[in-house]
């Protein structure tokens, strides 16, 4: 009886451990957000790192009171050194993917700033993900 109880306890323990292993190792996270300083009426960019959770997702929009228009953008540079920037309708995120938003690549473009962005202050940014929903991020304005 005692032996059977011990075996059952062990089995339950193993099942609990296995259940733990199949849980989402981590939800989507947004790290190191920062915005460029710029004058009122001009444009800025927000950079950050997104680490996706265990399911495929996509960034499909962004909004902020800091600017009249907020868009997802990507800069690409061709072999001749010509840079072009394109608005992105969606940015795909594979399971577990780490995606850096950095100069010369992906960024959130803030068009026609409602106020000057000065280093040291911060702005509110809402990122809209297809699965994760809306994530609100406090974005500090970094030095240029």
């Amino acid at each position: 009886m005692i032996r059977r109880l011990g075996r059952n306890t062990l089995l339950v323990g193993v099942l609990i451990l296995l259940a733990g292993c199949t849980q989402d190792p981590g939800a989507l996270s947004v790290n190191s957000p920062r915005a460029r300083p710029a004058e009122q009426g001009m444009n800025s960019a927000v950079y950050m790192q997104i680490i996706n959770g265990s399911t495929a997702d996509a960034l499909i929009g962004a909004s902020s009171d800091a600017a009249r228009i907020v868009q997802l953008h990507r800069t690409t540079i061709d072999p001749d050194g010509n840079a072009s920037m394109k608005q992105q309708e969606r940015i795909e995120l594979n399971p577990g993917q780490t995606l850096d938003f950095e100069p010369g690549g992906y960024h959130i473009m803030l068009i026609d700033l409602n106020q000057a962005l000065i280093a040291g202050m911060s702005i509110d940014l809402a990122l809209v993900f297809e699965n994760e929903g809306e994530i609100h991020v406090k974005v500090p304005v970094a030095d240029n």
Binding site: N43, S44, G81, N82, S84, G104
Partner: protein
């Protein structure tokens, strides 16, 4: 006889090492093979007067063509240049950082001044009307065009994202693509500022 080949290789190795000390390493980026005078121009400046490139001999010039609506590549480049100039072991007064707008329709001198002021009050902004600007862009091999797919109200531009470097004698010596490291630019700048004209 069998010792001749290793001895010859040794001599060649010594010769090549000695040779490195004599001929200077090339500049970073894309150095020009036979640097000639940088294409000259005169344009209205954010300083209030006119800026003539050939009138700046004695200074090292870092010349960039961009536009203020750009929130990414252009400010990233200007931020890098400001940081390099302030960290380099040089007299910053011997360097001119010059930003020529490729978007004169939106970039007035006032807009340019406000934009550049975010980086350094020493940065010089230049603006010319398209008919005067286009031959200058062509002379430097700079491409600039409105992206036809972008919103006409908020149009974006494709443009050459290179920093052109002009030495103290007025020669166009190299240009840097966007991915050139600050360390490489700093090394070149220190060398070019030190150079005798």
């Amino acid at each position: 006889m069998k010792y001749y080949l290793p001895a010859l290789l040794l001599l060649l190795a010594i010769g090549s090492i000695a040779g490195c000390g004599i001929s200077e390493a090339p500049l970073h980026g894309s150095p020009y093979q036979n640097p000639g005078s940088a294409p000259d121009f005169t344009m209205p400046s954010t300083d209030g007067g006119e800026f003539t490139l050939s009138g700046e001999k004695g200074h090292v010039i870092m010349l960039y063509f961009g536009y203020t609506f750009c929130p990414d590549i252009c400010p990233a480049t200007l931020g890098q240049l400001r940081s390099v100039v302030s960290n380099a072991n040089i007299d910053p007064a011997l360097v001119r950082t010059v930003f020529v707008t490729v978007d004169p329709a939106r970039d007035s001198l006032e807009v340019l001044k406000a934009y550049l002021g975010r980086f350094s009050s020493d940065f010089i902004g230049l603006r010319a009307e398209p008919e005067a600007l286009d031959p200058i862009l062509a002379a430097y091999g700079v491409y600039a065009a409105v992206d036809p797919d972008s919103d006409p109200e908020q149009y974006l531009m494709t443009h050459t994202a290179r920093v052109f470097v002009i030495d103290k004698s007025g020669r166009l010596v190299t240009n840097y693509s966007f991915d050139t490291s600050s360390q490489d630019i700093k090394a070149d700048l220190e060398r070019l500022v030190e150079e005798q004209q």
